[in-house]
Symmetry: C3
Subunit: 158 residues, 3 copies
């Protein structure tokens, strides 16, 4: 198992299977030393489970659950990167994370939801998991997902 | 005519004229092997035509029209890339597509709207048109546009 | 003082102090020749001042104030880049600017708000400040900020 996946397991996190291409776009695409993922929803086994905070609008009451959904979504993003690189140990650095949060009116803690995803990256990569980040509150997400996560990582040379 | 434009014509799609810089930003900017476009609205001849789904909020009733608007917007994005590269045949790969959809409450089919743009990229570039994609539902877009599309492509060497 | 900061001062704009890392993400990250910033809010001295248009939803009445907030946020983004590069004169070109505007219903002038940020980049860098740009109207932003700004710049070689 890769070092990164070992670190994830120690943190009680496990990588989902590498996703297959959905339709006419890909889960992730490499260009030079960068890998860009598609926006990833908090699917578990192909489902968005409302009880786990993965579906519906986010507010101050359910924000901790939504942070949990952000953890799931970023693990899906890492699985998409693995699909391109074969092994997450080829990642040199996490560059950029965007977390879109489907927000109820007046909900202003998108950054707290995004911390769920940032924490996973730190567990997986340590200091190399530090990234530039955007947390945005949006009106609606596909399939009524609570969060959508997009990742850019750089690839180790050689 | 370039191969890519020939493919577009065969699919009954035609590239609009290369856009001019609007104010103090550019339709697209190249950095190394990547070209980033500005967010492109579904303008046809300088107008957002409501009857063609290019203006107003998107819902389940008008989502097919909005997918049509996404086709228009991504063609505008390709025209912006042409303005930088001179010829779309210099594109090596489509890397990343973001589709922002101005969404009515409870509309959750942003991915279906985005498919309109993804399909154009497949028509134009075949397998090299496969991209990482984000589909996001937003509150409002400039000039009450229904969709806004942003593109990143990589450039063939030599 | 750097040339860029001299230009900013002549335009009566001053760069805030270089930000420190907040939690487990960084204000900006470099990858190869690109620097990606985190989404920057219009903080002044650690505060979002509502009277200066930095907090709350944007509408046609307060859009000029929100453009002012976008100026503040993009200066924060430049400070984040300085934290990575040491000197803003190392910037070769501004590549891409995204301006998220927390929008009231029916507000459709996100591009006018974004012009506040674009103008700062032009003041700072002249023609090299011309960038690809997205202006998006979103439901909510962290801490009820009125705008959030994200920047990608390229770095001069050598």
């Amino acid at each position: 198992m890769s070092l990164v996946e070992t670190r994830l397991e120690k943190a009680d996190l496990s990588l989902p299977p590498v996703p297959e291409a959905a339709g006419i776009y890909d889960p992730a695409v490499r260009s030079g030393d960068l890998v860009f993922t598609s926006g990833q929803l908090p699917f578990v086994g192909g489902e968005l489970v409302a009880e786990e905070g993965c579906k519906g609008k986010v507010n101050e009451i359910n924000q901790a659950l939504a942070a949990h959904a952000a953890r799931i979504a970023v693990l899906n993003a890492l699985a998409a990167v693995k699909g391109v690189l074969g092994d997450l140990d080829h990642i040199e650095r996490v560059i950029r994370l965007t977390v879109y949060v489907a927000s109820e009116s007046f909900f202003a803690n998108q950054h707290i939801v995004a911390n769920g995803a940032s924490a996973v990256l730190y567990e997986a990569f340590g200091e190399k998991g530090r990234h530039a980040r955007c947390a945005i509150g949006v009106a609606e997400l596909p399939l009524d997902a609570s969060v959508e996560v997009e990742l850019v990582v750089s690839v180790r040379k050689g």
